[in-house]
């Protein structure tokens, strides 16, 4: 047919050729003007595909949360509306226009937040044990995070569709791979929090647990346990969040209490925490440095730095490297194996920087879900 059409065009002479040529030119001029529009539509389509996927994950997280709450907590009545309301729960960030005293405000804010979560989970899962309640709090937090991701992507998608403004659409399109990575990371945490499995963030508490296991333990702050461990003539005061429920505790208060207990006579502090790896770094690499190895809101870090500065105590840091996808996902083997390497690093630092008779404080920072002591 194409051949036949070509032959007809040839026989018709130059006039038809000219008309066709003009037609093509016109089509390309149209394409020239609407290329950006077409590109915009294509970007919108890709955002929509991702949005659908995020919606699926978010809904699965919500359903899994309700299922686990019913299974463990055995509540009476329908908890779904209350769960939906709590998944939409928000907290308003602090005003930092006048930053003086913001750390105490942050402390109060975080405690209020924690209290709300505890109270809600207590109502949603009345028959759950304290350990299970901690895990359920974490599970709800995952559902909340996925819900926020979904709402933000949907906001930019709908706004972009409404305005057809390429710059609005590009804002979310450009960060789509990172958003997907974060959603994947959170989604892998559902299984861990539902079952109470150790997660990537739990490497710090595992290291502390390996050092303190078998020694008498005491509560030194809210959800923090410590043990005095003799080692090569030194006294190691090892502390971590109280497991095996999903909790990070209040390590800043733990450290302050231990240092005050010993009237500041602590030779060094060693903190072990999971740290984000750079692309190319192997999972489970153990690196050593100085400073307060702790993430979070910054409140804990600030308070720890304050007390160590007051008594001029050096802080050593051990970081166990992991990717974003490992942080809340069930622990991978290289990370678990890295905890042995970290224990060796702790012992080496103790031997290198302390003398017999010294007191050394060791802090295992992170979420202790699935890790006892």
């Amino acid at each position: 047919m194409v051949l036949l059409f070509g032959q007809i065009l040839q026989t018709q002479g130059t006039d038809l050729n000219t008309i066709l040529q003009m037609l093509y030119s016109f089509a390309f001029i149209i394409y020239l003007f609407y290329a950006q529009k077409i590109q915009t539509l294509q970007m919108l389509r890709q955002i929509e595909v991702t949005l659908r996927k995020v919606k699926t994950v978010k809904e699965e997280a919500r359903n899994q949360t309700i299922k686990t709450l019913i299974e463990i907590g055995k509540p009476t009545g329908d908890i779904a509306p209350r769960v939906d309301r709590f998944i939409d729960f928000f907290s308003i960030g602090l005003e930092s226009m006048d930053p003086a005293g913001i750390v105490d405000k942050m402390d109060h804010f975080l405690k209020t937040n924690k209290h709300i979560y505890e109270a809600e989970v207590k109502v949603l899962a009345p028959n759950a044990t304290p350990t299970e309640r901690n895990n359920l709090e974490n599970l709800i937090e995952v559902s909340q995070a996925l819900n926020i991701f979904y709402k933000i992507i949907r906001h930019y998608y709908l706004l972009g569709k409404k305005t057809m403004n390429i710059y609005v659409i590009m804002q979310v399109h450009m960060i789509l791979p990172q958003l997907v990575q974060m959603v994947e990371a959170y989604s892998s945490g559902i299984q861990a929090f539902e079952q109470g499995m150790p997660i990537g963030d739990g490497v710090g508490p595992i290291v502390a647990g390996k050092l303190m296991h078998g020694y008498p333990q005491r509560d030194i702050a809210e959800e923090i346990v410590a043990a005095d461990v003799p080692y090569e003539g030194r006294t190691l005061v090892v502390f971590k969040a109280k497991g095996p429920g999903g909790s990070v505790g209040n390590p800043d208060e733990g450290l302050i209490n231990i240092i005050e207990e010993h009237k500041g006579k602590v030779k060094i502090i060693i903190m072990i925490d999971a740290a984000g790896k750079l692309e190319g770094e192997p999972v489970g690499q153990v690196s050593e440095g100085i400073g307060a190895a702790i993430g979070g809101s910054g409140k804990e870090k600030f308070k720890m730095e304050e007390v160590t500065n007051k008594y001029k105590i050096p802080m050593h840091a051990i970081a166990i490297k992991e990717g974003m996808e490992h942080v809340v996902a069930p622990l991978v083997e290289p990370l678990f194996d890295a905890t042995d390497k970290a224990v060796e690093s702790v012992k080496r630092i103790i031997m290198d920087y302390t003398e017999p008779g010294d007191i050394v404080v060791i802090a295992g920072i992170g979420n202790t879900i699935g890790v006892g002591q």
Binding site: Q46, V49, S187, S188
Partner: protein, 147 residues
Amino acid sequence: MGEKPGNESKTAAGMQVSWVAYAAILVVGLLSLFSLYMGFINYPDNSDIAIIYMFIGAAGFAAIGYMLVRGKPASAKNEPLEVKKVEVFTTLECPKCQQKRVRDFKRGDYVFKDDEPCTRCDGMMMITKIARKKEEDGKKKDESNWL
């Protein structure tokens, strides 16, 4: 109120719009193909016109290629985004006789838990390790080996 499940038609509309984009690409592609064909047909008799035809055809394909490559983010791969379930195993060890046992993880397991009596001696087996099985698909290469 905000977007509830009832707004599917809106997203479905978005899907239709994007099909318009694909249709436009298809039309331009067909025209470009025909333009190239015309270029080849006309080349022996009227090479000037033929070159213009061929240029238009090539430009059309270049524009389509650019559109498709540029508009494709890394996330747009057809990999499904779903809640993954992984296999997690629990390792138990007897502190007395060093007997070791590996089994699937079950709810309530935690590291350092005295879990079950040892089958070899009268000691209690303790959970020493909980980790997920290694990924076997080999998709993820360890870049650190060659960089």
